[in-house]
Symmetry: C2
Subunit: 378 residues, 2 copies
């Protein structure tokens, strides 16, 4: 029995979205799901208690960041990431590939791996598929990701083709280097905007029989409709009996549109990042609580929200905290936004269960404002 | 019946410390007590839930800061400070006097009040006894403080005498301007290091019959033994049937030594301020969790502590969070330190109840390290 398995519950008759469960060594999570990101072994500003309270079922953490700080050896000695950060539910770590390409300078890609400079110390480091596996085996998440190349958008077809082929060879090396059978290793489909390369990448990877597949290289600056097209061109080549994870996507419209295209898992720093600037996701669209018009607004952030922040605090108070750089302001906004996306996915699952996800999408898009002319700003 | 009353329960036969209760419109708190400071209507990094969890019975907030941000009118419109910040237990606000003298530039003191520059905007402002009362009446705390002058340490006897006399005249104006009978106004005894002036200040203020008295102008740079001497020279002139509040004092030794000298209430930003730098109060003294020696130390911050931080997180994890500037690190350290001082005062109350506060002091000082040669650094 693999460490990570997918249980299909039903397919939405209206939309084709999948309802399922993923079983892991630290328990089961329901899909489609949003996974809060805890880059440095903490979901920014939140405590594990609060994540449990809002029913986060799985969180992410980050190989690249934990390798640099505090070092995977310390986390291993602590008994693994779960014990280190006091989180007993499932954890997924990404491979470090994305961060090597997005954060570091002077990277040099070879067949062997990627040489780059540590973005903190400037020190030269070398990350390879084998090294990424060694780090993730030490960290001990339930789900780990293969080490891939993440080319920028846009990239030439010729470059992307070479990159996809290297990512496939790296995926094979990851499988060989992966040393623990209590952790599930997912492959990552790349190929940018090119349908033929997405197909090639998916076929390469599925031939290696991973327990799950991610779709990477999206939400990197391409137009929104391109993401949906790429999903439609990729998922047909992924097996039905494995979970599908769309990496780095966390805007509400993309979560719904991804679920409709058969995606089971999503993650993004968006809800916590915009929260720290006082931007909230609400049932009627984004709300920038710093704005002067909220100074005397004693309503909750979202009048239709059931979270404890909306039950206890006003826009005026939260605006005051954010304007004064008070930590509690960051906490309350982060809590609300994470709760918003987790609740959204709960509602998406319920809509699939009741074969009405397209109806749900229409009502949600209308209320949130995605149907407006400036929807690209949402 | 005054809004704020003191109920004396017993006097420690060994030390002379007082055990009591203070009754306010938002409930009762036990004394001696430590009051966490929520300068800007939030105890830095903490939520009200967490303060309740650690049994904070009363918190402080700040007239000067709330006047500047968000403005007392907004808080009044919100229904007062309790509603604004979601805190139903007692609140004490200080008068703004200390902040005008410690934070602002170019202050100019006249009989009428103090002209100074807003430390945020540079705008010229004028704070008077009447203005401080108007702001505190709008904020609506249970206990408000008279507007006083806080001279620097050291100050000449002649300057201090004139200042004490002005503070007494200001206290009278505060009483006249105070417009709500559901808030208790405390007078503040000044006089610096001078016994005759402390006596004069105490006599002036007690003749005005406030429901409580504070001792101000200590913990401003003077030697530690001077504080104890000043307390001994001041409390004989304060009535037994009113609470006594030593302002701005929060180091563990001073809390115990203050209680022994008949002090009932204490406040200080110390536990939260040092927490944000990763410095912890523990049963065996201060612990600087940033230090490299804690990188692989998987023990709790304090092995004798009952707080939820010590139950769930290691020094190694908290060090990682603090080194990485993660908000959760500030939260966990702040929680632990506040819990430490609140628990210390619970233990002090129990020792008074059992007539053994001097024994408690000796054991605590020994364990914490206050008896060491470098104790002044604690």
């Amino acid at each position: 029995m693999p460490a990570v398995t997918y249980e299909h519950i039903k397919t939405c008759k209206q939309s084709g979205a999948r309802l399922g469960k993923v079983h892991t060594p630290h328990g089961t999570f329901e899909t489609p799901i949003f996974m809060p990101v805890g880059t440095l072994a903490t979901v920014k500003t939140m405590s594990p208690d609060e994540l449990i309270e809002m029913n986060a079922q799985i969180i992410l953490s980050n190989t690249y960041h934990l390798w640099l700080r505090p070092g995977e050896d310390i986390i291993e000695e602590a008994g693994g990431l779960h014990a280190f950060m006091n989180w007993d539910r499932p954890i997924l770590t990404d491979s470090g590939g994305f961060q090597v390409f997005s954060l570091s300078d002077l990277r040099n890609i070879t067949e062997e791996g990627v040489q780059f400079r540590n973005h903190l110390s400037g020190e030269k480091l070398f990350l390879t598929p084998e090294k990424s596996m060694q780090i993730q085996n030490a960290l001990g998440p339930d789900i780990m990701m293969a080490f891939d190349e993440c080319p920028p958008y846009p990239a030439e077809h010729s470059y992307m083709k070479a990159s996809v082929e290297r990512t496939s060879r790296w995926a094979e090396r990851c499988l060989k280097a992966h040393g623990r059978d209590d952790q599930g290793l997912f492959g990552i489909v790349q190929g940018g905007e090119y349908a033929d390369l997405r197909k090639q990448s998916a076929k390469d990877l599925t031939s290696l029989d991973f327990p799950g597949y991610a779709i990477g290289g999206l939400s990197v600056g391409e137009p929104k409709d391109m993401m949906n097209r790429v999903l439609e061109e990729t998922t047909p080549y992924l097996p039905d009996d494995k979970p599908r994870y769309l990496m780095g996507v966390g805007s509400a419209d993309s979560l719904i549109d991804g679920a409709i295209r058969g995606i089971d898992m999503f993650d993004c720093v968006l809800p916590t990042r915009i929260a720290r600037n006082g931007t909230l996701m609400t049932s009627s669209g984004r709300l920038v609580v710093r704005n002067a018009k909220f100074a005397r607004d004693f309503r909750p952030l979202d009048e239709n929200c059931s979270c404890k922040v909306c039950a206890s605090y006003s826009r005026a108070y939260i605006r005051h905290l954010i304007k004064s750089n008070e930590t509690l302001g960051l906490r309350l906004c982060s809590y609300h936004n994470l709760h918003f996306l987790l609740t959204l996915m709960e509602n998406v699952r319920q809509a699939i269960r009741e074969d009405r996800l397209l109806d749900f999408r229409e009502a949600f898009f209308e209320s949130y404002g995605f149907n407006k002319a400036d929807a690209k700003n949402f």
